[in-house]
Symmetry: C2
Subunit: 220 residues, 2 copies
């Protein structure tokens, strides 16, 4: 099997071309194709062409939050580490994850809930535009939905893409019932990599990338 | 849709039970089921029940390296961040990723190869047992295979699970042709999350987890 000769700088571009070829007549809506294709690029899983729900206000709300001192809250260090720091820095935005904070661990133990759920409460107290990028813990997503329903949280965007088998589908359907701007991977699939890819797709689309337009920018 | 009532401590156990139920008669080999099921747990993607190749010497070689001052080398900060630090600490092992090192970036630019490939060369110079956990860059996996073929690298284990569309399948088939201990996700799928999950499955199996045996320990 021969290796294809592709320059490092062209690998991503070529990857998106191949994704577009494989999608064939099943291309995503041009308004969100940069998001859908980046998730496929991250997972090589074409099921995401079918299962991603992106509310019409999602990307605009994300961009406004990022440009106005917003912070992305993740439920894992892995998602945090996958989100492009240079892109965030370009807009003076940042990403935070409280999962390893000692106060979070102590409170979770005492209340017998997950640390991820406590993290969401801690984030909700921040007086800044909040973007939740949740790729792991359905308990975190459930807690965000509860806080929204109670009226104590008004997030700029909730990216609800936890993965797994216990209350994962349920947590996503709970998010679907709220009226917040949202991006949801319906079904069991998702992940920290997916959460990060969705954030990066939107950051790059905003111009948060060195070296010109992103490979996944919408075609002219 | 009703939420299932599952205590935080039981979520993972219940998840593995559901995975086992769904796999039905298609259970993985008991010797490696903790690895296969943890990857499915991480991705909710049952294709991994079919596409993971695990060489018979892989886990033994991993464990020996971990217990003898070995280091896990990743090609992304995301994989690094997904590998359990408490589990590694239990064995005095560690994980390193050179992708953001300034010397790596400079050399990659000069030689017009990827930073990930340069990282592998840098790792190969370490005088320690080496485990490569590559979930992102096929160029890194290709470089590892080349160094193995040249005889300048003798890794304890290569986890070859890059994801994507350009030279991904080719790089994995190149690894299959070598005689090093290996774990490979054949085809296009994989990821930093998959690389981390494979490492964690083996670390937990070695007893590297607080609170007793892992949910994914082989059944008695």
């Amino acid at each position: 099997m021969e290796l294809q000769k592709v320059r490092p700088a062209d690998i991503e571009k070529r990857s998106f071309e191949i994704i577009t070829e494989i999608l064939g007549e099943n291309q995503p809506d041009p308004a969100v194709e940069h998001i859908v294709k980046r998730v496929i690029h991250t997972t090589a899983d074409f099921e995401y062409a079918e299962n991603l729900f992106i509310s019409p206000d999602a990307e605009k709300s994300f961009a406004e939050a990022i440009q106005n001192g917003g912070v992305i809250i993740t439920d894992t260090k892995m998602a945090l580490s996958g989100i492009s720091k240079p892109a965030l820095a370009k807009f003076g935005a940042e990403v935070q994850c409280f999962i390893s904070d000692p106060d979070v661990a102590a409170e979770a133990k005492e209340r017998e809930i997950t640390r991820a759920a406590v993290c969401m409460e801690k984030a909700a107290k921040l007086n800044r535009p909040l973007i939740f990028a949740l790729g792991n813990a359905p308990t975190a997503l459930v807690r965000v939905c509860e806080l929204v329903k109670e009226g104590t949280l008004k997030p700029a965007l909730v990216i609800g893409v936890p993965v797994g088998f216990v209350n994962v589908i349920e947590s996503k359907e709970m998010l679907m019932e709220t009226d917040v701007p949202k991006i949801v991977a319906r079904g069991r699939k998702g992940g920290s990599n997916v959460a990060a890819a969705i954030c990066n797709a939107m950051l790059y689309h905003m111009g948060g990338r060195r070296g010109g337009p992103a490979a996944n920018s919408p075609r002219p």
